[in-house]
Symmetry: C2
Subunit: 603 residues, 2 copies
């Protein structure tokens, strides 16, 4: 199976068009401005010297690269001369300041010895620059950065594979592995693929690479065993997921069953045991890590925006290996929840962490104890010191088309439902839908080179209708593909109350409210203080109300106990009825600092 490049897909209206417009009109420029202000763009000049302020940080290149990549995806469907010019200028600086080997790193070129410190994101930055180069070339036809990055990749191959002169064998922050595959795909140069395979095969499988930080164990960097032996997703969450992406890609290209099975075990471990209902992963701030099965605390969840996005990257690669709807289900969960929560409704503010509960009182505990307890911040920021998430959200939204379709020789798979037009490999297909606000999706198949069209039936969906005969298999409804046909899929989307596995102790006795793929939450601004005192009766139907945040809000009856000022008192069976309003989780903390709760007590 193949996936389809986002440049072949035009989002035409609805939810994701609104998000893409926001990114084009606001986010790209805002993130550029913040990166400019924080000297990230200036750093590309490589003029910093000892004693100067604002030493280029070791991961700044990756921020710029992801911004360029995100811009590139947006240029596929929307011109933006001003920003393209700014990207050209940045690229020019990168090209100009490379050394004679093609090496570029705005930190190491002005500070220290290259390829000596494994934990310093050096190859991670290189990888992001390669991804940017590929995307920018595809969008603009401009090949300069791509050529430069090919030369850089050749140099990396020389240092790491031929000379083995680096002080480490595999990257401390994986990323370049998946980037090299993109470089291989666009250039056809096998050595980039092999370099990627070299890194993947050697990860956790050599005696040179040691734990990255003092006091840090091998698990943090997925070094405790060869990747092919993995059975669980462990260590730094984003690093792990980027690695798994490369494992999926390589197993696809090399038809490597062992590598696929390892990736599949990790995927299943995540979605069965280590994933928030929002698609977020990596529950602890300590090492930004996966922890153990079912350890998914809500209030101090880490749940990094980048990790959610990386899970979508990984899942979308797994689609190519196994025609099962579970992968696109995971992508959808991330799309509407754990990734989108990372950006504000105005397109300017970001969350790095995405907890499933905000309790302002808990955060205030720190004010009286000189730190100590750690909770995610409660107000979005426009830029972070470690600002990986903002440009990651940009490239995710700009490139959302990537997730729509995949195809085998005889079947077109529709993985996501987004109002769009697409053309690729003899197929012309469009979707007309207001999903996920409404239930109906019209799919117009103008021309098709395939025998079947397979529509994903989301795992959250308990009832659906299709105006055609279909066969259901592994989460897809297979329909005979006819040219100029209109398929109408209706996914029943009632307000649903979801329980968590009893092993997730922090969700005990609680339900999350979902409608379709969208997870909802309570906010204090709508529902008062002490959100934890509210109880939902799951017999309630729920009423849809205005689309305050692109999809309808939900109104529900709820119940609370009679007021009692005592600290402890005899329990009562009495409940007082009240009304609550739920908003989509992705829109939390957009109206000032307020309490928030996803998992609500069940009456």
């Amino acid at each position: 199976m193949k996936t389809v490049n986002c440049k072949n897909i035009k989002i035409t209206d609805g939810f994701w068009k609104a998000k893409q417009n926001m990114v084009n009109n606001v986010t790209l420029k805002s993130v550029y401005d913040r990166f400019k202000e924080t000297h990230r763009f200036d750093a590309l000049n490589c003029t910093w010297k000892e004693g100067d302020p604002d030493m280029p940080h070791v991961f700044w290149d990756s921020d710029i690269a992801k911004w360029i990549e995100g811009l590139a995806y947006s240029l596929n469907y929307s011109e933006n001369d001003e920003l393209e010019k700014l990207a050209d200028e940045a690229i020019e600086k990168i090209i100009k300041n490379r050394d004679e080997n093609g090496y570029y790193n705005s930190h190491f070129l002005v500070t220290g010895e290259r390829f000596t410190i494994r934990n310093e994101h050096e190859l991670y930055c290189a990888g992001h620059l390669m991804e940017a180069a590929v995307a920018y070339y595809e969008a603009t036809g401009k090949k300069e950065l791509l050529d430069a990055m090919c030369k850089y990749a050749d140099y990396i191959e020389k240092v790491f594979v031929k000379e083995k002169s680096a002080k480490f064998v595999t990257p401390g922050h994986p990323e370049i592995e998946l980037a090299l595959i993109k470089l291989y795909e666009i250039t056809g140069e096998n050595r980039y693929l092999e370099l990627s395979k070299f890194f993947v095969d050697n990860h956790g499988n050599n005696s040179v690479d040691q734990a990255l930080y003092p006091g840090c164990n091998l698990i943090y960097n997925q070094d405790e065993m060869p990747l092919r032996e993995r059975t669980t997703a462990d260590g730094h969450c984003v690093r792990a997921l980027y690695l798994f992406c490369a494992m999926a890609d390589l197993s696809y290209i090399y038809n490597d069953k062992e590598l696929f099975e390892a990736a599949e075990r990790c995927f299943m471990n995540i979605v069965d045991k280590r994933m928030y209902i929002t698609g977020a992963t990596g529950s602890t701030c300590h090492g930004e890590s996966f922890t153990i099965d079912y350890d998914l605390p809500n209030r101090d969840a880490y749940a990094e925006t980048c990790a959610s996005i990386a899970l979508a990257f990984f899942a979308n690669r797994m689609i190519k290996l196994n025609p099962d709807g579970k992968y696109a289900d995971a992508v959808e969960k991330v799309m509407y929840n754990g990734s989108l929560s990372g950006i504000s409704m105005d397109g300017k503010g970001f969350f790095y962490e995405n907890p499933l509960e905000i309790d302002i009182d808990s955060n205030n505990v720190n004010k009286c104890t000189d730190g100590g307890k750690r909770f995610p911040i409660t107000q979005r920021k426009e830029v972070f010191d470690c600002s990986c998430c903002p440009p990651n959200v940009i490239r995710f939204i700009s490139g959302i088309g990537e997730y729509l379709y995949s195809h085998t020789e005889d079947t077109l798979f529709v993985n996501q439902y987004i109002n769009s037009e697409a053309e690729f490999e003899g197929i012309t297909v469009s979707q007309i839908t207001d999903y996920p606000s409404t239930e109906e999706i019209k799919i117009k198949l103008e021309s098709s080179s395939k025998k079947y069209i397979a529509l994903r039936i989301p795992s959250w969906c308990k009832a659906f209708e299709i105006n055609k005969a279909y066969t259901l298999k592994d989460g897809y409804a297979y329909i005979e593909a006819k040219e100029n046909d209109e398929i109408i899929l209706t996914l029943s989307m009632p307000v649903t109350f979801i329980s968590a596995n009893k092993k997730i102790h922090d969700c005990a006795g609680r339900v999350a409210v979902m409608r379709g793929p969208v997870v909802y939450c309570l906010e204090g601004i709508d529902n008062g203080k002490d959100l934890n005192s509210l109880r939902i009766d799951i017999k309630e139907k729920g009423k849809l109300s205005e689309r305050e945040f692109l999809v309808p809000n939900i109104l529900l009856k709820a119940y609370k106990e009679p007021e009692n000022d005592s600290l402890y008192f005899e329990a009562t069976e009495e409940y007082i009825e009240t009304k609550i309003k739920l908003i989509p989780y992705f829109a939390y903390e957009n109206r000032g600092e307020t309490d928030m709760l996803v998992w609500v007590l069940k009456k």
Copy 2:
């Protein structure tokens, strides 16, 4: 009102006799042995020198002192020649190794400059030695340590008040304030009282004392304002409570209304807003501190054993100032729950922290992230590096008689119900009861110099009977006192389900099970894994079963949801009935490492 020295009261049978026997037969010797093994007793020789192993720790003297004090209380009712000899030897070393001023500190005599570092527990150790001296003299008539400590107190007065030559004004770890009052009471020397008042008046009220540790704020040590202005209990919990003890004592002796009101505000802040249902306080490990109102997390509760005991000390002093049952209610809460949980049923093992939930899985999170999340330990230890709690439990149990009675000119107050015989100030009174296992308390008043006897009606008690006419006021039933009278009080003690204030977010939707003053808990060893998935129907009556841990266990019907292996799934209204067994909270973790839960979901 006056309280009654524990030496006048003999515990004769029942719950506390069992605990005192345990302390006499096991704990005193076991703690001695552990302190001996860890070089605490050897340190008294003051022979350590630079380069030697096992430098005497700055707070070791206080460990020894509390052990001597606890032994002294036990000698009031039970001879123990072996341990008395060991105590005599320790005392001899202390006396012998004092300097010419009477100064003694096994750390500073061999290491550094005295009275220069406020945070170093120097006066805290002195205070504990003074308490030990008073108790040992009262129990044995041996006056050597008392005389030595008087000389030491004189020297402290000279340094801190007369010469003002110390580098700080008030102790970094308060304790000596309350000890000096004991010294005043036993010697009648007013200067010890005035020295105590000097420290209390100057605490948070001078420009010399600064924050104790780098990065630490003034709140930690109750230095952010003068003590008389306090409205809340803040900072290091044990330090705060020891200070409040002295405030209560001084307000009593000096009839200082302002100081009483400050102490009362702090007391009410604690019992109304900052106390666990177990009587434990100081919810965070960060600074071992009080935090903010209603911040009472269960799983990562700090809830130090010493803090519970210190709350009893404080509350029992408040009794003298205001004839209100609320103080003895707090004492009782601590007695049967948050303090007693600090010692194992075999008398050898201790908890420093007393969480209200143990989730072994959560503790295991740390194994994969190199530390990070912090939870209390799950297995009792016989000694800690900072081993303040074990000897504190000893002196609390040995001296439990202290809490039974208080009296004004015309009324004898019965504050706690314990099988006992007492004689003091013309009163001969005994209690015959199996409380808190059973409901009836017989009080035999043989002779009485008082007009009334006032029986505390615990705030947990919703129905009681007395075989005499009574008037109820502020938590006490006042009865005419007649010689040779037998009063029978019956405190109805059904299994009760307690809710927490909705502002305690971690108890939302949950109930605690109590019977009388005893808080109960579920343990995994009885009830399986995932205790959080169990729900209690508060309509259930509960059945008492065997006295596995001195008081009856409780059997209850409970409910859980049908098994479902999915991570997330549609909520159901279906419940499966099951049986659960609850044990007294104070007995948790006595049968190996297992999950534990106080606050159980309410159906």
